[in-house]
């Protein structure tokens, strides 16, 4: 029954392929989305806690909803439904392929959060990655998206290696792939598993140094970006750590390492978001930063709060992406420079503003709550980290404000078409997300936190709250101030924009240092393969040939051939040195063939056609035979 959760969207996807081109398919889609959510809800509610599928004599797959898994299980379709609706509305031309793929994407992600063992997790994990390739490359006729999809897949796959390793080590140490078995690990194995998981999660959640793939992922259609930033692909990394970090208490460096990664990413992503001049990449930067905050929370030993942040972020980030999609559609490009669509799409602007407030972590929004909780949790561990998180709030507020102004600011009166505010279909799909964002403000209510994060509903101390507000205000005001001065688009000038475009230099680093160098290595090896690999074989053949030539010199077998023998010895030496010389140049098997062929020609010289030489050969040969007989004892 647990399988229902992923199966329903999967079936819906199949049905969608057939039905979507028809009329009235919108309603069917709605039904499908509701069913998907229903299935998830039913699984959460049902009493079946775990399902184990035999996958082979040694392998088995375990599925089941853990506490946080259940939350995710519900969150994913909830976020996905509006997004898919948005996709249905805005991508009419390609909805037949896009919508089913998104549904499959949801299915794989649901499978992921249902996983109770690392094998199942890896399966879902890789499938999520593969789906991202299909989705990001969805506009495959353009030259860009396919390679962007490739970068995404490969970068995340580098991280996947960590998961492979973790799964293997876990099995080797405990004989099981079960996630709860991680608890039982002893140190060296636990270290390996921890490292593997951290690698996998960092790559998937776009943490430094893998963060830049998110930029590439922007090549996909907006709904894809919205989904993979919020509840799917990227969320998988944080989800993994939220689930596993409590089990790896045996590894002392694990949590600090997570926190460090998160902290670095939070700042780096913030800077990138603040400097970025395109809408979606700016949001991508912010995604990295926000997941950085989650990592900090996990590192601070508060995975529950990280989970809350994951949920909250999912809701408002998908809202923001849909808004960005509208903005891009309206402005015709993704460049922030040409937007300020507040007058054109006031409703959309309003909905986005809700999301931006949450992003900026303004108190009394959901985002605000989770950020305060993270600060508090970090403070408990280390005041320095807490302070840094607090400071990063300014950065967040700055780029949130910046985005708000640049995308949805009122703009020049009269330059854009002005219309009566009305709710359009795409706005409609944003509405549930905006509502969700607002609803999450209830976390501030006493006890509100308990149901989401399972955390204690403790209040925040007033001082830090005020401090946060101050920091946020400072950030926001800075944005406003820059806007006044007209430099908000490029706060740090061209160099800053360049830095942002290259993800602080990570993109060239990866492209040249990793991708190009491995390509060069591959090319070198290929040349090596074509020329030199057989050198050993060839050497043997050459020696054979030289030897046969030495034998073939008919003079060697006679007495006065002694001189010749010396001569052919010299030849042999010459040959050897030439072989050494040619090794690097020409080492093909064909070389081998030629060598043997020459041996053939040489040996034919023995057959001179002159019978007296045959006779001489007999005499000499018999002498040699006698010699062999005499010495053979």
């Amino acid at each position: 029954m647990i399988l229902l959760a992923p199966l329903v969207p999967l079936l819906a996807a199949g049905a969608g392929w057939w039905l979507l081109p028809r009329r009235g398919s919108g309603w069917l889609l709605l039904v499908a989305l509701v069913l998907t959510m229903g299935a998830a809800g039913w699984v959460v509610a049902s009493s079946t806690r775990e399902l184990t599928i035999g996958w082979g004599p040694v392998l088995s797959l375990s599925l089941g909803a853990t506490a946080f898994g259940a939350t995710m299980l519900l969150l994913i379709p909830a976020i996905a439904a509006p997004i898919i609706g948005y996709a249905y509305v805005t991508e009419a031309a390609s909805r037949r392929s896009l919508v089913p793929l998104l549904l499959v994407f949801v299915a794989t992600m649901e499978l992921l959060v249902l996983s109770r063992d690392l094998l199942m997790l890896l399966v879902a994990w890789e499938l999520v990655g593969a789906m991202s390739w299909l989705l990001i490359g969805h506009r495959w006729r353009d030259p860009g998206p396919p390679s962007a999809a490739r970068i995404t897949f490969i970068t995340t796959r580098i991280g996947d290696l960590g998961l492979y390793a973790a799964a293997g080590v876990l099995f080797a140490a405990t004989g099981s792939f079960r996630i709860d078995a991680i608890m039982a690990l002893d140190r060296p194995a636990a270290d390996l598993v921890a490292a593997g998981l951290l690698l996998a999660a960092s790559a998937k959640s776009a943490q430094v140094p893998f963060a830049q793939w998110l930029f590439a992922a922007m090549a996909g259609p907006t709904p894809v970006s919205a989904l993979l930033h919020s509840a799917t692909l990227v969320a998988a990394g944080a989800y993994l750590l939220i689930v596993t970090s409590p089990l790896l208490g045996a590894v002392p460096w694990f949590l600090p390492a997570i926190a460090l990664v998160g902290l670095v990413t939070a700042f780096a992503g913030g800077v990138v978001a603040a400097l970025q001049s395109d809408a979606k990449p700016a949001l991508a930067g912010s995604t990295s930063a926000q997941y950085g905050l989650m990592f900090i929370a996990i590192g601070a030993g508060a995975p529950a709060i990280a989970g809350a942040q994951l949920v909250i972020h999912a809701v408002f980030k998908s809202l923001l992406f849909l808004g960005a999609g509208v903005a891009m559609h309206e402005s015709g490009s993704g460049r922030l420079a040409g937007m300020r669509l507040g007058r054109l799409r006031p409703v959309t602007a309003l909905l986005s503003a809700i999301g931006l407030l949450a992003l900026a972590a303004v108190p009394l929004t959901g985002g605000g709550w989770s950020k305060e909780a993270i600060v508090a949790a970090a403070d408990e561990r280390s005041v320095l980290v807490g302070t840094l998180v607090l400071a990063s709030g300014a950065l967040t507020a700055f780029y949130a404000m910046r985005l708000g102004l640049l995308m949805w600011g009122p703009g020049q009166r009269g330059t854009a078409r002005e219309e009566r505010p009305r709710l359009r279909a795409d706005d409609l799909t944003m509405l549930p997300l905006a509502a969700g964002t607002v609803a999450l403000s209830m976390l501030w209510l006493p006890g509100g936190a308990a149901w989401l994060a399972g955390a204690d509903g403790r209040g925040f101390d007033l001082f830090s709250l005020l401090l946060s507000m101050g920091v946020i205000a400072a950030g926001a005001l800075a944005a406003v101030a820059l806007d006044r001065r007209g430099t908000l688009l490029a706060p740090a000038g061209d160099r800053g924009a360049e830095l942002a475009r290259t993800w602080l230099g990570f993109i060239p680093l990866f492209q040249s240092a990793v991708a190009r160098e491995s390509m060069r290595l591959a090319d070198t090896l290929a040349r090596f393969d074509a020329r030199v690999v057989d050198a050993g074989v060839r050497l043997i053949w050459r020696l054979t040939r030289t030897l046969s030539r030495a034998i073939a010199y008919r003079d060697v077998v006679t007495v006065d051939g002694a001189v010749r023998a010396i001569g052919s010895g010299t030849l042999l030496t010459a040959d050897l040195s030439r072989i050494a010389d040619e090794r690097g140049v020409d080492g093909t098997v064909e070389g081998t063939g030629r060598a043997v062929g020459r041996a053939g020609l040489e040996s034919r010289r023995l057959q001179t056609g002159m019978s007296h030489e045959y006779l001489q050969l007999i005499a000499a040969g018999l002498a040699v035979a006698l010699f062999i007989l005499v010495i053979a004892r």
Binding site: I551, V596, Q607, S611, I618, A625
Partner: protein, 478 residues
Amino acid sequence: MAMGTDMAVMVGDVIPELALLVGAVIVLLLALTLPASRQAWVAWPTLIALLVAGIATVALFGGEERLTFAGTYAVDAAALWAKLFILAGTAAVVLLSVPWFRKDPRHGEYYALLLLAALGAVLMAGAADLKEVLVAILLSSVTGFVLAGFHRRSSLSSEAAIKFYLVGALANTTALMGAALLFGLAGSTTLEGIGQGLAAGGEGARPALLLGLVLLLGVLGFKLGAVPVHSWVPDVAQGAPAPIAGFITAIPKVGAFLFLARLMLVLPEGVDWQPLIAVAATATMTLGNLASLWQDDVRRILGWSAVSQTGYGLMAIVGLGASSLALPALLYFLAAYVAGNIAAFGVIVELRGRTNLADFDGAGRVRPALLGSLAISFLSFIGVPPLAGFVAKLLLFAVAIEVGYLWLAVVAAINTVISIVYYVRVLAPAYLRTPAGPIATLARPAAVATYLATAAVVLVGLLAEPFVAAFSGRPLLP
């Protein structure tokens, strides 16, 4: 040794040989009486003589292994099998010869000589005595020289004959000195006597023994085409009439191999002859293969390949006495080799002597069956299962490994790889290129013989058991 009453028994032991001799005489006489247009009929008595000899040979199988004619002649399973190979091979050569020599009026002489050549090989196979083997070799050689030069108008044929002769004469001549020395040391010329005499001779006999042995081995090497007495083989294969080339490169080898085996087995303890044979095997197969590589004449390729095959066969000799597989390996190898060689030369004959490599382009498409035969015989030479050549190589390798000559097996393996190249050099254009024109063939008998030999190559491989079983467990006399 008793005389008189035993004579009848002894004559009973050589009925196959007598059949061949009588056949040869009948052929001669018949040719004298038949008119010109019917001369070709003498092929029939030739075949009948071979058949009678074959039946007589089979009939002898029932008896015990024994020496006859005062220890000069062995009637044992190995010899009888060898005779069967020789007779069957000769019969196939007769069939090949019928169309090939259609225009040549000298049928009587030809078939008589062919029968006598077969007789020479048969006598070598049974010889258990130095005198006997020397005359048998002489008979085999002298007929061979003449047959190789049978095409009077072909300059290549006569050149092949005289080269064959010069090499053979020197080998025969030196062998006489060797025989004299061995006789002097052992006081006897029978192998049995030599074995006893040499065993009694002790260390003092060693120098002359080794010298005599080498001189004697020279003539056996000549019949086998082993290095260093191999030079005639490619020349004869190329220059002699094609059926005869097929005959000479295969049939006398059978007899020579058997006598070589018998000789090696009577050598006393102190003579370590195995390394010599192993070295000779190495040299023979390597030279044969290397020299074949870039030949442009298919018959010459076959000639060199015959040299290399001798090298493989010598591996069995190395294992004689130490490995129970050695004798079965040798006999099986001979059967496979004779069949394969006859098939290969049969194809050449049936293709009217087509021998230039360039003339084989696309032949596989024009003459699929014939070239199929060629392919099968070549693959058998390479040792591709399940053909006879494969089982032969398997046994030979097994012998070498069993007696500790792993290196020899490895050398043979490397040689086999080299050999692929020249076999494929013939086959590849035949199958992969487009034909240049029509390819004429000779009359049916040659095709029949070719296909029979090909079938033998396949069947001897597939149904190896009766042969291997028959070759195993029977002693080699003396």
